[in-house]
Symmetry: C2
Subunit: 265 residues, 2 copies
C-alpha cells in the first residue's frame, strides 16, 4: 500500500468552497492529514451544559473550537463559514430530526444566538492508520464509516444526557495493536479505541445495520474496533430534546486547515 | 534520595478533615501521589465563560471537575465539601481581593448560584519528580512554590481575559530534560513546562520576588523551569473584574482521593 502525502491547506479551502457551493459527500479521506471536525450548535442558553457534557465525556467530545454567539468563522479554518462549509447539516427541533440541508444559514437566521462547538473527529487518525499500512475498509469501498449507538451512558451535564455513539473500523487481527498505538497518540481527536471486539457487550445488536453511515465491509480475520464518535452529541440531542440544534450530518465534517500533527503527542 | 511511597485516600481524607477543622498550610507534598486541585468558583452567569477560558487555555486550566450550582461535593473526593476542605480561600469582589478565609461557607451562602471548577495542579507531577530523584527545592525548604504573573496573554473568553501565571521550580541543568519528560506524561495536570530559562522573556522582572507563594531557593547550576499554573484564573479575575468569585489561596489546594496515575499517559 502506498503511503499518502499530507494535504496542504489549499486542498482544505478548495473542499470547503465546493461544499459551500452545494457539493455533498462524506469527508473521510478528504485533505489527507488535515484535521476534520464534528459540529453541534445550540442556543446560548444550552451552551454551558454542552461544554460541560464535553468536559465530562472527552473521548466522544474533544472540543477543538467554540464559536460564540455571532461568530461563524473558526480559527481552525481562516475564511471559513460554519453555516455553509460543511457538506450536509441536520436541523433538530425538540430532539427530532427536522430537516437535512446543505446550507444552515437559515437556521442561524432563525436562532442568531447559536453557539457552535467543533469537536475532534476520528477521521484525523485514519491518516495515521493509512500511513502505517493499516487498511481502512470504508475508504477502500468509498463508503461512509459505520456508526452505532451503544448502551453505554455518557456522564450527564444538567439537562443533557444520552448514550455513547461509536464509529467502527474492521481491522485485521494482526494490526489491532498497531491501530491502538497510533490512535492513542491523538487523545484530542478521540484517541484510543473504547472497545475492541464483541459488539454485543457494547449493546450493539446488529453490526451489519449501523445507526449512522454505511454498513461495514469487513474481511475474514478482521476484528471490529470501536472508537468514541463525535456523533455522540446528536444522540444527546435525541435523548435530551433541546428546543433547537444544528449538527453536521454524520460522516460529513468541517475540513480544517490544521495538520493532524498539531494534535499528536 | 529515597523514593516516596504513594499515599492512600485515607491520608487525603485526614488532610481534608484537618483543613475543615481550621488547619492552614500549603499542600505541596501532602498525600504524595494523589491529585491536588485548584479552585475557582463564579456566579452561574459567568460559568460558561470560565469553562470556555479553560477550554482555550488547557495548560494553565485543565478542568478535572465541575460542581454545578447547588453541588459542593467533588466526585474526585467523596465526602468532601468544597466550601470548607481547602486550607485557605480567597474571596474576590469586582476583581479585588476582599478577604482570605479558611471557611468559604459564608461566600456560598451569599451566592448560592456559585459554580465551582476544580483545575489540575502541578503538585501532581511533583510526585513523579521526587520519585525520579529530581530535587524539588521548595519542598526541601518546606516553602510554598514561587508563582509569577507573566506578560503572556491567555486566549480570552467573552468577558474573561488575563495573563498566564506560572509556577517555577529550579532544576539542576542535568535533570531539566528528565523534568520535561516526566511532567509531559501528565497533560491533564499542566503537563510539560511552558518555558525553560530566561525569566525576562516571559516578562518576569525579578524572580526573587514572586507574585504568589515564597521566594525561590535555587542552588548553583539550577535552571529556572516554568509550568503553567492553576492560579491563572485568579489573574483573570483581577483583570476581568467579575462581581464575585471564590478561589483557593495560592499553594493551598483541594487534596483529592484520585491517584496521579489516573491522569498519566
Amino acid at each position: 500500500m502506498s503511503v499518502a502525502t499530507a494535504a496542504q491547506p489549499a486542498q482544505a479551502r478548495e473542499a470547503r468552497a465546493a461544499y459551500r457551493a452545494g457539493a455533498v459527500a462524506p469527508t473521510s479521506g478528504v485533505a489527507h492529514g488535515l484535521v476534520q471536525a464534528n459540529l453541534v450548535a445550540v442556543p446560548a442558553d444550552w451552551a454551558f451544559e454542552t461544554l460541560l457534557l464535553a468536559q465530562r465525556n472527552p473521548k466522544p467530545m474533544p472540543v477543538l473550537d467554540v464559536l460564540e454567539e455571532g461568530r461563524v468563522e473558526s480559527r481552525l479554518a481562516p475564511g471559513s463559514d460554519v453555516r455553509t462549509d460543511i457538506p450536509a447539516y441536520r436541523i433538530w427541533r425538540d430532539g427530532e430530526l427536522s430537516a437535512e440541508t446543505t446550507d444552515a444559514s437559515v437556521a442561524w437566521d432563525e436562532h442568531p444566538d447559536l453557539v457552535a462547538f467543533l469537536i475532534g473527529c476520528s477521521f484525523t487518525f485514519e491518516a495515521g492508520l493509512v500511513d502505517a499500512g493499516i487498511p481502512v475498509r470504508h475508504r477502500e469501498h468509498d463508503r461512509n464509516v459505520p456508526m452505532c449507538r451503544t448502551s453505554a451512558a455518557c456522564a450527564p451535564a444538567g439537562r443533557l444526557h444520552g448514550e455513547l455513539v461509536v464509529s467502527m473500523r474492521p481491522i485485521p487481527a494482526s494490526r489491532v495493536a498497531d491501530a491502538v498505538t497510533i490512535s492513542s497518540r491523538f487523545p484530542a481527536v478521540q484517541g484510543a479505541p473504547v472497545h475492541i471486539g464483541d459488539p454485543a457487550s457494547l449493546g450493539i445488536a446488529d453490526l451489519g445495520r449501523p445507526d449512522f453511515g454505511d454498513p461495514p465491509s469487513a474481511r475474514e480475520g478482521d476484528v471490529p474496533v470501536f472508537w468514541a464518535c463525535g456523533v455522540t452529541p446528536q444522540a444527546a440531542i435525541m435523548a435530551s430534546r433541546p428546543p433547537f440544534a444544528v449538527t453536521h450530518a454524520p460522516g460529513h465534517m468541517l475540513v480544517t486547515d490544521v495538520p493532524d500533527a498539531v494534535y499528536a503527542l
